[in-house]
Structures are given as C-alpha cells and as structure tokens.
C-alpha cells in the first residue's frame, strides 16, 4: 500500500538521509514488522484491537469489576429497573444510589423492593463485597467499586435485575468470560483442524485433496443451525457445566474449520511453486523443515487474519445455541443465556433492560470483523 512509496524512490534520487534510513529500515524489517506497519495505518482496526483487548481484560477481571454476586438470587428484588448513580447531593460530591424499600403488593401481598429516594447508599472505590477468586488464585472480596452500608439484599443495580433478582450488570461482566473464551477455544480447535487438513490437502494434492475438498463442500452446503441443535440436544442431561462447555466448543468448531482449511490450502498451493521452497528442497531440507521453517512463517499473518474473522462466527454460534436453550446450561452465564430471558415479549416490554446484553455481543462481533479486515489487508503484501 503506502509503504511501497518509500521503496519507489529510485536509488539515483538525491540522497536524503531520512529517506535512506527509512529504506534501510524497510529492507531489514521482518515480515511481522511489515505487517504491523501496514496494520497501523488502518485506524478502525487499531481501535477495534483496543476494544477487544479491553473486553478480554473485563473477562479476566470480571469479578473484580462486578458489584453484586452474579448468582445471588432474591425473589423480592426481581425486575428492578436500572439504578443510576447520583454523583452530587446537597453536600457536594457524594456518589450514591438509592436504597431499597420493601413494599407489599396490595393485590398479591407479596413483598417487593423498589428504590427508596430517602435512603442513600454511598458508592465507594475498592469496597468489600462478595468473595471470589482473582485469576483463580487469590481469594479476595475487594471490588473496584460498590456500595457501603447496604442491608441484606441491597446493592447497586446499574443495569437493573432479572426475574430472579440477579444483578444484570455483574452477570454481563461474568458472561463476557464464557462467551469470549468459548469463542477462543472453538477457534483454536478449528485452527488445528483447518491447518492440519488444509495443509495436508494443499501439500499432497491428488485424491487426498479431492476428498478433503469434497468434505468441505458438503459441510458448507448443510444448514448449520439444525445440525448444531441436533447435536447439542443430544448431550446427556447428566453432564456437568464443564463437560457441556467443551462439547459445545467441539460442536461449533465442527463447521468452523472449513474456512481456515481453505485459506491454508490456498497458501500452500501458492507457496509450493515458489523459488525459495524449491531452493530449500534442492539443498536437501527435510519436508518438516520446509513446512515449519520456510512455508509456515510466510503465511502466519494470513492465518491470524482468518482466525480473527472466524472468532465472531464462533461467538454468534454459542450465543444462538444458548439463546435456544440448547447451549450452555445454568448456572453457567453467557450472553446467550442472558438473552434467553429476553425471549418473551411480555417480559421484555416490562423489563426492556434485559436486552442490554445485545450491546456487548454486537460490539465484540463488530470489533472482530474490523480487526480481521485490517489484518487481512495488512497481511497481503500486494494490498
């Protein structure tokens, strides 16, 4: 793209120190550096990268950022609307949320909580809340922010609560973890299958290639959701959350590998005829060395780009399956499971905040698409 402008300067041009230095830098740069330089020009992709890193950071520190135990249910506080933080009161800066007041429903005589403006719960940084494992190692109960002096059942509900009175904000944070990492796990599995089968297909050609190509075509011409549904529904009910998690990962990568296999095969086919591969062959390098030392590095960037484009598809798959109730099962929390609550139009019209998990889903998918686009452009030296 625009890097080419640097090299386009003919050597006979008046030697500008800076240009010469840039040219030397360009000539000595590794493939990865070149890709990175091209990638940096793609502003939207760069922003997307930051967004994705932030999302994964949230996923890792979800419990630290959460304010309320995402699994704690309390029937009395079901469907509390989102509570805004009030930053000022009559004494100046004093962030607070309103406390809850129990009100007996005049018709059903059930006790239900509603916000009580007369009581203020101060919002503070680094407060102690429910206990969790930070990074799976340290047991702690410190949270980035939260309320102080809350009575039992009281807390802050930034995005409201669901039917069982669980805090939606905290649940979305915790769901980020499963939704993002199941995508990652699925992509790793697809990548393994795709590189293996695509590589074999591209390297050996002949009938092996033919068979693998037909398998890919067959897989791609089958409607995926009914297949996934069939497989997912067949998972034994007795399996625990972790077993189901891995089974779902395998199911969604069963179709996902085909795209990656195509990319890898295409690259192998193109590279097989390249001079440097022939040269390596002639100098007696073993096949393994040719593949891993010479061929693979020259298209890692393509694989990375294809991977980042495959990730959003994985995330959508998991979300769809869980949304249908065939994916992960409670108590696991994922975006799909949260959106399941929003399925009923009657419930939704009373508690529209249940649709909020759609926002992170859309954001992440959008970010991964932009990132993948940018990476693909950057990986292509002729782009």
């Amino acid at each position: 793209m625009s890097i080419a402008i640097d090299t386009a300067t003919p050597p006979s041009a008046p030697l500008d120190e800076k240009a010469a230095a840039a040219e030397a830098r360009y000539a000595q740069a590794t493939q990865l550096q070149l890709t990175w330089w091209r990638f940096r020009k793609h502003k939207l992709a760069l922003v997307s990268l930051v967004v994705i890193v932030l999302f994964y950071a949230v996923a890792i520190f979800a419990d630290f950022l959460a304010t309320t135990d995402p699994h704690a249910t309390d029937a009395r506080r079901s469907f509390i609307p989102p509570q805004g933080i009030h930053f000022f009161d009559e004494n100046g800066f004093n962030p607070h949320v309103y406390g809850l007041r129990g009100v007996r429903n005049p018709r059903t005589f059930q006790l239900a909580y509603s916000p009580d403006p007369s009581r203020k719960l101060p919002v503070r940084m680094f407060v102690r809340g429910y206990t969790y494992n930070l990074l799976g190692i340290f047991e702690t109960n410190i949270h980035l922010f939260g309320v102080e002096g809350a009575r039992a059942g009281e807390s802050m509900f930034l995005l409201g609560t669901d039917q069982l009175g669980r805090d939606l904000y905290s649940r979305i944070l915790v769901a980020t973890r499963i939704s993002l990492f199941i995508g990652l796990a699925g992509v790793v599995l697809s990548l393994f299958l795709g590189v293996l089968l695509g590589g074999v297909s591209g390297l050996y050609g002949g009938w092996v290639d033919l068979v693998i190509q037909r398998i890919i075509e067959v897989l791609r011409s089958v409607p995926t959701i009914p297949l996934w549904m069939g497989l997912a529904a067949a998972l034994p009910r007795t399996w625990n959350v972790i077993q189901v998690y891995f089974a779902i990962t395998i199911i969604i990568s069963l179709i996902g590998w085909t795209d990656l296999a195509r990319v890898v095969r295409g690259r192998f086919l193109a590279l097989r005829e390249e001079d440097f591969v022939v040269a390596a062959e002639l100098s007696g390098a073993s096949q393994g060395r040719i593949i891993f030392r010479h061929m693979l590095p020259s298209f890692t960037s393509h694989i990375i780009a294809a991977t980042s484009l495959a990730l959003p598809a994985m995330i959508i798959s998991e979300t769809s399956l869980s949304f249908l109730g065939l994916g992960l099962r409670p108590p696991a929390v994922s975006w799909g499971i949260l959106l399941q609550d929003a399925q009923n139009i009657q419930v939704l019209s009373g508690a529209p905040w249940l649709l909020v998990p759609a926002i992170p889903v859309t954001m992440v998918i959008l970010a991964f698409n932009f990132l993948g686009d940018g990476l693909r452009d950057a990986a292509d030296p002729y782009g």
């Binding site: 075509e217 089958v222 009914p226 249908l324 939704l348 019209s349 889903v361 959008l366 698409n369």
Partner: protein
Amino acid sequence: MVIYLLRRLGLALITCVFISIFTFVIIRLPPGDFVDAYIANLAASGSSVSAEQAEAMRREYGLDRPVVVQYGIWMGRVLKGDFGVSMVWRRPVTEVIGDRLWLTMAVSVSALFLTWMIALPIGIYSAMRQYSIGDYIFTTLGFIGLAIPNFLLALILMYLGFRYLGLNVGGLFSAEYAQAPWSLARVWDLTKHLPLPAAVLAMAGTAQLIRIMRANLLDELRKPYVVTARAKGLTEMRAVLKYPVRAALNPFASSLAYLFPYLVSGSIIVSLVLGLPTVGPLLLQALVAQDMFLAGAIVLLLGVMTVIGTLISDMLLMWIDPRIRLEGR
C-alpha cells in the same frame, strides 16, 4: 457443461447421503433406544407397555440388528416417505410437519430474493460513487448488519413494534387465517406477513453481498475496456451497466450456493423469536422432548431441501456465466 452438471449432481447426492447418516446419528444419540423413550413417554401419560410389546416394537424397527442394517431399514422407510411416528404428537411425522416445511422454504426464498434486490443496486451505487457519503453510510450499515445476529435483530424489532406501535409483529398469518385451509386470501395474507421475517433474515447476507458486489465492480471498472467505452462517449450508466456489472455479477451468483444454507439455518432461529409457523419451533420442541423421529425428519428434510436449492442456484450460475457453461467442452 454436462460434466459440470454431473459433478454438481454427484456432489448433491453425496451431500444427501452425508446428511442422512448425520440424521441417523442424531436419532440414535440419546441414551437408550427410542423404544425406551417411547415407553417412558407412555408411562408418563399413565399407560404401560408389556415387555413382549416392547420386544415386538424393537423387532419391527430392527433395533436388535447391527447399526448398519438399522440405517438401511430406516433409509428404506424414509425413501418410501415413511418418517416414523412422532412420540409427542402420536401422529405420523409427515402429518405433524404438514405445510410447515413449505413455509420455511417460502421465508428462506423470499429472504434470498430480498437480498438480491437490495444488494445489487446498492453494490453498484457504492462502486460507482466510491468514498462518497452514500458509500460510507452503506458500508457502515452493512458492517452493522453483519455484526447483529439476526435473532437479536428480530428481538429488537419485536420489542419496538410492541412498545411503540402496539402490535405483534410476529407470525406469518393474521389470526383469522392461521388455521384456515389454503385459499387465495390466505396466500395474500401470507404475502403481507412475509416481508418482515424476510428482511430480518436477509440483513447479514445483504451486507455481505454489497461488499462483494462493490469490490468486484471496482475491479472491473478499472479495466481498460471501461475506459474505452467511456472514451467512445457512452453514457456513464450504459458504460457501467452493459459489461462491467455483468462481469461482476458472476461471483455474486456463486456466493448464492453458500447463502442459501445460511438463510435456511437462520430462518430456524428467527422463526422461534418471531413465532413463525415454520419447522423451526417444531424442531426445538422435538429436540427438547427427545422426539427423535420428528427431529430427525426435520433435519433431513431441511438438509435435502437446501441441497436442492443450492443445485438450482448452481444451474442459475451456469446460465449466467458462459465460462462455466463452456467448461469441459
């Protein structure tokens, strides 16, 4: 051309066999065989089945024979149009599915046409006016369309329709036609209800096709023959529409083969949200209740219909593109 056609036909057959094996696996996957499930189902409703009866049923369905033979027996029945009996509905599977399958196809196919109708003009516009405000708007919209899963879009539309217009946007028929026999009025009613689910389904595919069309046409527009056409004084419209668009249309048609399975797939989940009387909700119910003959029949029929749809789109492609038609001559 004949070779191409035969190759496609062969591939379609292989795909159908693959789908049937897959379906068979789905039917067999739940623990225990279906007679166990059937007995459990009956027991739940109060009646009981003797051991002899169970044994007779097992023999009838060949459950005491090796798996391959079982597959053969099952396939033989399916080819004769006998998909077995739905356990939950206690009626033949074909009866339960009824015209839901055709409605599924109606939704998918209308989504396909909608995709074409929207993507083609916008794609041409975006390529002709590259980097214009309109191009940026469509590109952004396209990306958003790609990023929102269609069931979410359906949910949001449902909510907005319910909240601000006070109407239920779901369903394929008005209340008075839901159970009515087919008539012209009912077909008209269906036509009125189709656009919304079709639009929801078409969203992502349209976004993708606009991008493909734009990229292809941009490549074509840079070619010398377009410059020649312009130099000869052809109007811009004619210079673009006459040849470059036709050349760019080719990959457009080939992507159809991938688009159709995607649309059928999407129609399942969108139907669930919008409450459409397609096979989608039926499939979910059947899977949850482990009514495996019903679920299997739906997966099989959907798969085969998709393969046929893909085959038709391949033939369409052949008709459009002389390069394929002349291949293998």
